[in-house]
Symmetry: C2
Subunit: 348 residues, 2 copies
DNA sequence: TGCACGCATGTTGACGTTAACACGCAGGAG
DNA sequence: CTCCTGCGTGTTAACGTCAACATGCGTGCA
């Protein structure tokens, strides 16, 4: 139980639920409001005795600084905006989790906006809603269909993008899609498979494009046949649908799925068709979701370190905010190692 | 390339990156700033001709209202704070996704805070950071160890909690844990299993307690032996560890896992031990994560409609914010139906 | 013809905070 | 003894917006 503290604020015009203000604290402590401000901001040039009196008064009144007033005065919200598409997906939520965590450590709050669709228009609208001093900077997680030029960003607002296609336009952070996908395909070739089929992500997605391209290049460089890729939409459901077709084709001995969820659907379809994994068909995924090591069989996959990506995004953004500069050429590539488990084996 | 637009703002004292203000628009349109404010807020008592001139000026200057000033003046941030623990988990991210979406439709922004641990102290600290006019209301997703009395909430701030243990203290929204868990256990008994083993969630979690309690009650009411539950921590890893013990025990023919991720680990352990699902052991999960229908075998589970929960949370919160009242006794229970798939069968 | 009323628009001031500057006093250098 | 410096603290004004009140003009009714 707290003490009563009736908060006798007179409300001449805009009578809202307002706690104690800096002025109330100043009056109680017998100092000027500026001194309270100094204490509240940790300035050093305040006598210990004065500071103590101010802190006492704050405590007594339950004072908490008004963010709006501070933001209005300083022009900084201590907040970053995060634009995300489908938060419920593993990669997205892990990245956002890391962003929120890293931001908190730096004293920043996160304003989350999701966009109905990842189209340039929707993303632009989302940015508009966050724009103009409601945040100090922006992180765009997954731009998907948007391209560097189709995106109209609020001027003077630092931006970081988790999509390497934006390299050269905005600072970007991303896992090494190309190396990861190439390693996955090469692993299957090294096991002795003649070629590798692709269960592709949606064609408008940047990462999906990069993974498909790497798959194609790796096969071509090894002089192998490049089969027609099967299209999915990242969901397990689409992986299952595609998997039924692949399972019916006895020539298919190795499949590289552009993400783990589609790989899960693929495994389902293969089991259902009675094709054994990995004896009959080897499967490699992408992402290393927490469930990957407990699927049946445990899934060989490419690990994306989403936590690291989130941290780097925040680091790069704060660097820009603090230096009041906008970098264009900074890029961080996070390694994406292949994790070999039990879903891959030589063809029999 | 955009046109130059040098934005000739004089910066007398606090020279920050500040766009056009209401005054700049007023000057350009030849009206008073109050008229601009009226247009900006959609007031009807403005002549069409005047409105057009103002809108033109806004467009020309790229004006966007300053959230800080507006919040300071009106006392409302048009923002809600969301406190979440481990965002990367399915339930959490789906709920937050729905919250963000519902909030956006109502013109509210979401401030996301994650807490390092779900302890009362950490949650209280998180609430502190969001407190006092930086948000208009709070949603606590998963309070876990916190109890209604251990939580010190900022006064005068509307709160909604996604945890039914808070019923009677704060408005709460949650899936029907008890009915869902009971249905899962009853389903297994109906199939002919003599009893049902429990793979439990962490003991400090409210939902885990409810599910365990319902499991116990359902078995007791049917006059069955109540075996010692096996403890997990929600993760697939813990489900796998627990599953190795369960798989070694031939008496175990049916397991109710308190969530789908642990059930996934359990399936892994059972496969590895050569115990067939569902012929040797039946498994029921809880949550119906997107992957549940594509696990092997497809998982019978209890569906939690996280989207619905998120929407109801926002609805209840906004109702409080708008009525400036704090309800205490409102509760919304979302049905949690059993989804029967292929991981359950009569014992053989 | 007079007066009240409605309507579009303008003027004033305050929300809570902090940057910039002013002030007064003590101590040290010339 | 004077002047300068440094330090703790106070005063002033401004950040951008909107609520409340003021103004001025045209219309309709008695």
């Amino acid at each position: 139980m707290a003490s009563p503290a009736p908060t006798a604020t007179n409300s001449p015009t805009g009578g809202r639920r307002t706690g104690a203000s800096i002025g109330d604290v100043a009056r109680l402590a017998g100092v000027s409001s500026q001194t309270v401000s100094r204490v509240s901001n940790g300035a050093t040039n305040v006598l210990p005795e004065t500071r103590r009196r101010v802190l006492d008064a704050m405590e007594r009144l339950g004072y908490a600084p008004n963010h709006a007033a501070r933001a209005l005065r300083t022009g900084s919200f201590a907040a970053i905006g995060v634009v995300v598409h489908r938060l419920a997906r593993t990669g997205e939520s892990s990245t956002v989790d890391a962003i929120v965590d890293a931001a908190r450590r730096e004293g920043y709050t996160v304003n989350l906006v999701d966009v109905a669709s990842p189209s340039p228009d929707d993303v632009t609208a989302a940015l508009q809603r966050l724009s103009n001093q409601s945040v100090d900077g922006l992180i765009i997680v997954r731009a998907e269909t948007a391209t560097p030029t189709s995106l109209s960003l609020p001027a003077r607002t630092p931006v970081v993008v988790a999509d390497s296609r934006f390299v050269g336009h905005h600072p970007a952070v991303g896992a090494d899609q190309v190396a990861g996908a190439a390693a996955a395909v090469q692993h299957l070739l090294d096991l002795g498979h003649r070629t590798v089929h692709l269960l592709a992500g949606p064609p408008e997605s940047g990462p999906a494009q990069l993974r498909a391209q790497a798959w194609r290049t790796t096969l071509a460089q090894a002089g192998r046949v490049v089969p027609e890729p099967v299209q999915g939409d990242w969901s397990a459901e689409s992986g299952y649908a595609a998997g039924r077709a692949l399972a019916a084709d006895d020539d298919v001995t190795a499949v590289f799925s552009a993400n783990d969820e589609m790989a899960t659907g693929l495994l389902h379809a293969l089991h259902e068709a009675g094709r054994r994994v990995p004896q009959d068909v080897s499967v490699v995924g992408f992402d290393d979701i927490p469930l990957a090591s407990h699927l049946w069989p445990p899934l060989t996959t490419v690990r994306q370190d989403f936590t690291r990506v989130g941290e780097e995004l925040v680091r790069l953004l704060l660097e820009q905010i603090r230096s009041r500069a906008t970098f264009v050429d900074r890029t961080v590539v996070v390694p994406a190692p292949l994790i070999v488990r039990a879903s891959t084996a030589p063809p029999t």
